[in-house]
């Protein structure tokens, strides 16, 4: 089980950076089909900066680390995803407060706050074919798992599985938010890139928690 203090949180996000890098081309391809083809590059630019800038000093809280990641993403990602992921992480940090270590309940609360942040900025509803369609099922699954006393690893594993299913379920949808909405009916039949990146990030976090 990973360490759930600031250092562990930082390590988990550095691992996310590796996953983003690995899947950059895939995300570009998805975004090219129904957007402008930059989602992979946007996230890679942002997470490369996370690797450069995010450090955790002795005694840093998870919240402090999340604030650094959020600020870095906001100032480097651009596009729709930058403010959305940035706001999500800011809110997630605020939700967990200044505790030195995370527990399963805190993780579930953080995910819920992240979703609230994305919705507050982007005003997307479920079914609009956005990252919300991956994040919302993840939040619900995490809450249920935490409630029944699951470990952090279990909470994140279930959140990740739900996010993945949610992302896959965006394929038939017609986009109503973001660039893909300009395509109208033509957006159906494609996986939403932001939903996919949300699922990838959660899978990476779940992997960190399990290892």
């Amino acid at each position: 089980m990973m360490n759930c203090d600031g250092a562990g949180t930082a390590a988990a996000w550095l691992r996310v950076a590796g996953v983003v890098r690995e899947h950059c081309d895939e995300l570009v391809r998805l975004d090219r089909a129904i957007g402008d083809g930059d989602h992979g590059e946007n996230l890679r630019r942002g997470f490369d900066a996370v690797v450069d800038r995010v450090t955790s000093a002795e005694g840093d809280t998870p919240r402090a680390v999340l604030r650094q990641v959020a600020a870095t993403l906001i100032s480097t990602v651009g596009g729709a995803a930058g403010p959305l992921y940035g706001t999500a992480l800011l809110r997630a940090g605020n939700a967990i407060g200044d505790r030195p270590d995370l527990d399963a309940t805190a993780v579930a609360a953080a995910l819920e706050a992240a979703l609230e942040g994305v919705v507050a900025r982007g005003r997307a509803e479920p079914g609009d074919k956005t990252m919300v369609d991956a994040l919302r099922p993840a939040v619900l699954a995490a809450a249920a798992a935490a409630e029944r006393g699951a470990t952090i690893a279990e909470v994140l594993a279930e959140a990740s599985a739900a996010a993945d299913a949610g992302a896959q379920a965006t394929v038939p949808l017609v986009a109503r938010k973001g660039r893909a909405s300009y395509l109208g009916e033509r957006s159906a039949g494609h996986l939403d890139p932001g939903a996919r990146s949300t699922a990838l990030i959660l899978a990476s976090l779940a992997g960190s928690a399990a290892s």
Partner: protein
Amino acid sequence: MKKIINDPAAVVTEALHGMAAAHPDLRVHTDPAFVVRADAPVRGRVAVISGGGSGHEPLHCGFVGPGMLTAACPGPVFTSPTPDQIQAAVAAADGGAGVLLLVKNYTGDVLNFETAAELIEADGVDVRTVIVDDDVAVRDSLFTAGRRGVAGTLLVEKIVGAAAEAGADLDTCERLARTVVTNVRSMGLALAPCTVPHAGEPSFVLGEDEIEIGIGIHGEPGRERTRLAPARDLVRMLLQPVLDDLEWQPGDRVLLFSNSMGGTPLVELYLAHGSATALLIERGLLVERSLVGPYVTSLEMQGISLTLLRLTDELIEWWDAPVSTPALRWGR
């Protein structure tokens, strides 16, 4: 992909170095990236600031200068700038009379400018945001991202910039921007796509005689794919939705802006402009001002957009007012 670049990731920064070399009357910053007129901040004048993804040059950085934008923030190619760029531009441009942010309606731009505006406001600056959404190709609705901001943005920047230069206050500038947005409509088409440097492949593919009607300025697909037709028919396909979207009256005075998406030769653009002018006259509109050129582009995309602005005496006055930027320059 054939491009005159060194490294796809460095395109915007290196292009800014070129802008700095070419235009001593601009101050060009690369980290964070923004361009500001050399004499900024201008005391007592509203700062008019815009920005957006790169690849639409000369929009926006080429419109920085007296009589137009105070500053502009270029994002990576086709990707919105980030809040820190916008904050830095505001810090350099703010002359104490408030800041007006002009934002093209794309989710990325809107969210990043919104985030920036919250931070700027927290610093005690009076900041207003006007969203430009002139593209009639996209049907507007509360439940979607709404219409895109395209070539009409230039007209907003010119008109508001002129008023700010002349000392109009923030309320007036904001009202003027909204007036232009209310009265401007655009629609574009593409004959051939463009290739984003870091993507390396064309953003869409068109058959030998296919065109895309209602294209956005990022290579987003449009309303429909159809066959290439004679110029006069293409012009009608663009103008009809524009004319249908606003209640134009015979006798209305208009500005017609014929814009190249980048790769269309000027000889074709002028030809289309002539055809569009003739059609508007036929419909009883008075074409009192014209602008023709590659001003709001999508890299090397071949295609054009047509923009119509309903004029009033006030708008004409600000349109005609002197402007001195790298890409738009007249008067005094």
